[in-house]
Symmetry: C2
Subunit: 480 residues, 2 copies
């Protein structure tokens, strides 16, 4: 953990720059910010606050120790020693030329210089000699994995490797094009939506509902083409195309004109948006959005679809192997908001969910891992006793140690201790498991290697008293 | 439960008609299908099979008993006695005229006649005297709540009431327009995407990734305008418009032409789609999609956003109040796939999750409900003992009864029994809770009414032995 940390420089610290800063910082990079805005420090700190609340909640392992965040008045100082420099200044080509030119001179030769531009092509950004690539992210940058990469292949390849290491999903374009891929699609929807509002067909809220009650949910996990492939039914994509292709020349496409961008249209949209969302502040909306994204992406981790697959893969690359008090640390993770309930603390269910993850990890430590399960053998829990000793809250760091009380024959008797970061023992979870043949669903002895590893671990843990084990619910203290 | 069931007729039984059939059937309606296709019965049965697996998994309460599904060769027989008739025949205006005309003659006067048309306006559908409304759903109809309603206000109002009662989200358009709202947006994205593939900028898979790794996730929960409101930051929607409005006249919109729909383009798209998804059958893709949707919508239930809010509201309207063996039934629900694990059965955590829901419902039964909690008092679990007696699988019906072992002073001692539908006792969950002041976080006595209701329930349950209570983990059977 004492290896020198990587360093990134963030040039321009708005919502996007702040999101980049948070993404690097929470992945263990030092981050140097350059932004002449006197408000930059406050704004970035707020974005990072949101990110600390949400990003670690995507993972069931601890993220690296945070890097160090610094602010600089001198651009050369900010970019010194960096591996990545990210420009997120306003979308004006003259300004991009000036900033990217200066960065290309000042930054280390080996540093990637990424531009967050929504619309400009690398050939435009670099026409005055800069060496930038387009690295176009999506808000909130600390949660959404996509980064569109456009530029010289050797530069985008290097950039892609770094982005993957901080849990992002680089998508390298085959050709440069104005607005890359996603913003072309977004622009098309935006254009049609403005027409619908202007023509009085629907309000902003109705359009949002039309999206989030239907195709938004489809797109969060499969996108456009895979969804349509399914819609084609057994006959597949060609059938779908034959069925819906002709619509392209129907009146559905008559609204491909661009609506005139008048003050009246701006007021209409802004007014409807106030009616729709004005009862919540932007901060509240951001947190609601982040909670929703965390919940949905966590559910996509189960199937490995889309962003869930990205998190799953990144999580597998996070370090493990810690011990505490001579016992293996089987879980170290942040408590997501979605684990809390109406009592304002972690719901009882998730004490067991965390302990269940700890059991999985303990099993892996003695060789009963995913491969072992795939071979047709596993452990089934037959009994569990939980003592809830203290409250745990959203954002708390949770650490679980696992003691093997005994591991003989088919039985595995475990004692998990759930610790809060402040050193408080929040719960103990005692579990009895039986080794089971997954075909016959009957108990059977484990493989020799597993049995031996389990026995060894039980022996090495035997010196420790497991206070609170072998108790029944409601048992008076003195009879313990 | 013996009231006469409502009846719907489904005219045309493809993927969409089958989805409608499943939606009505699983909400307790009888469904009569008319479709001359000899394969209709098989196709609809497959859709309903998917729906049985997924729709009840969205709910934490039991859905109504399924209605009866029948197939008819005679359209008049199919529509007799219906409250809803849904037409989902191919998208040809002459065919719609013929079918909707016949249905308008045959169906009961009070029945809603809905058309699943993606593109036609009610004025077109009814130009030969039919009395249909557009009721445009989204695939999979049994999971996605949106239905776009267009037509005469008295007809759409009646239709909206029925759709809400089967868990859907009616969105009534203010004006008729070709392709309604959602398909206008979809068509715009489809058009841009075809250009991107045709021009070699991206493959179908890359476009899907651009969507599902980024804005698809945003749109599943908030839609377009609310997302942009957040992007505008503290300055809000007007600021966003000022920043990005001008893009409408930038080169981003140069691709608003319609690409020519050649065989070459069809082959290009179909080939790329095969490369992307050809390793999975359509059935497998459907199940993956459904699992993803169920998981995401369940996570949105927590915040009440989008489709999660729709399910939450519908769930609250589902009946409760059952008893079994003289004990209150505190949970009756289907086990979702997302509750299972690598051992091919319900994960240990979700035995407790179900029991935790049962505890919430028991609390509500004695008056410690959401309102009571909002007043600053609640029960906290301090100890739990679970005996896992048998396996539970995805799709199983789970029923929980709750016995109050004692309820004196601050303590509430509960014993949950988890039953499978086949009558097998799958687990017992014994819990001790303490009544707690939510401000001081200290134990305190409950309100008089709650204390009394709890004591009454404990007295009425006292005749029953709770076998397996007061045991510790690993306790030998003979010492019980």
């Amino acid at each position: 953990m004492s290896a020198p940390r990587n360093k990134a420089a963030i040039i321009g610290g708005g919502v996007i720059g702040g999101g980049w800063a948070a993404r690097f910082l929470l992945n263990g990079w030092d981050v140097a910010v350059f932004d002449p805005d006197p408000e930059a420090q406050r704004k970035i700190s707020e974005v990072i606050g949101n990110a600390r609340r949400a990003l670690p909640a995507l993972y069931d392992r601890a993220m690296p120790e945070e890097g160090v965040l610094t602010f600089h008045d001198d651009m050369a100082e900010a970019v010194s020693g960096t591996l990545w420099v990210q420009e997120s200044v306003p979308e004006r080509l003259d300004l991009k030329h000036k900033v990217l030119g200066a960065l290309s001179d000042m930054a280390p030769q080996e540093a990637v210089i990424g531009s967050s531009t929504s619309g400009f092509k690398p050939s435009e950004l670099n026409e005055q000699g800069a060496r930038a690539v387009v690295a176009h992210p999506f808000n909130p940058v600390y949660l959404l994995p996509l980064v569109e990469l456009v530029g010289e292949p050797d530069r985008t390849e290097k950039a892609a490797g770094i982005l993957r290491s901080i849990g992002m999903y680089p998508l390298t374009l085959r050709k440069e094009i104005d607005a890359h891929i996603a913003d072309r699609l977004l622009e098309a929807v935006w254009r049609e939506s403005l027409w619908l509002v202007k023509d009085g067909v629907a309000t902003t809220e109705e359009i949002d509902d039309a999206i989030r009650m239907a195709f938004g949910i489809r797109w969060a996990q499969m996108g456009l083409f895979e969804t349509y492939r399914i819609a084609g039914g057994e006959a597949g994509m060609k059938h779908f195309m034959a069925q819906f292709g002709p619509c392209l020349s129907w009146p559905w496409t008559k609204l491909i004109d661009v609506p005139e961008f008048t003050d009246e249209l701006v007021d209409l949209i802004a007014g409807q948006s106030d009616d729709q969302s004005g009862h919540m502040s932007i901060r509240e909306l951001e947190r609601l959005r982040d909670d929703n994204i965390v919940g949905m992406v966590r559910s996509l981790k189960r199937t490995g679809s889309g962003a869930g697959g990205v998190v799953k893969e990144h999580e597998a690359a996070l370090p493990e192997g810690e011990t505490k008090d001579g016992l293996p640390v089987t879980v170290r993770r942040q408590v997501p908001t979605s684990w809390t309930d109406y009592n304002g603390h972690m719901n009882e269910t998730h004490y067991l969910e965390a302990a269940s993850l700890a059991t999985d990890n303990l099993m892996a430590l003695v060789g009963a891992d995913a491969q072992y399960v795939a071979s047709g053998k596993s452990y089934f829990t037959v009994e569990t006793h939980i003592r809830y000793l203290d409250e745990v809250h959203a954002g708390d760091q949770l650490l679980i140690t696992t003691q093997v009380l005994s591991g003989e024959g088919k039985r595995m008797h475990l004692f998990h201790r759930l610790w809060r970061k402040d050193g408080t023992l929040a719960a103990t979870v005692e579990k009895m498991l039986l080794h089971t043949d997954l075909k016959t669903r009957r108990a059977c002895p484990p493989d020799e290697l597993v049995a031996q590893a389990l026995a060894d671990m039980a022996a090495s843990h035997s010196g420790k008293t497991a206070e609170g084990a072998a108790r029944y619910v409601g048992q008076p203290r003195e009879t313990a």
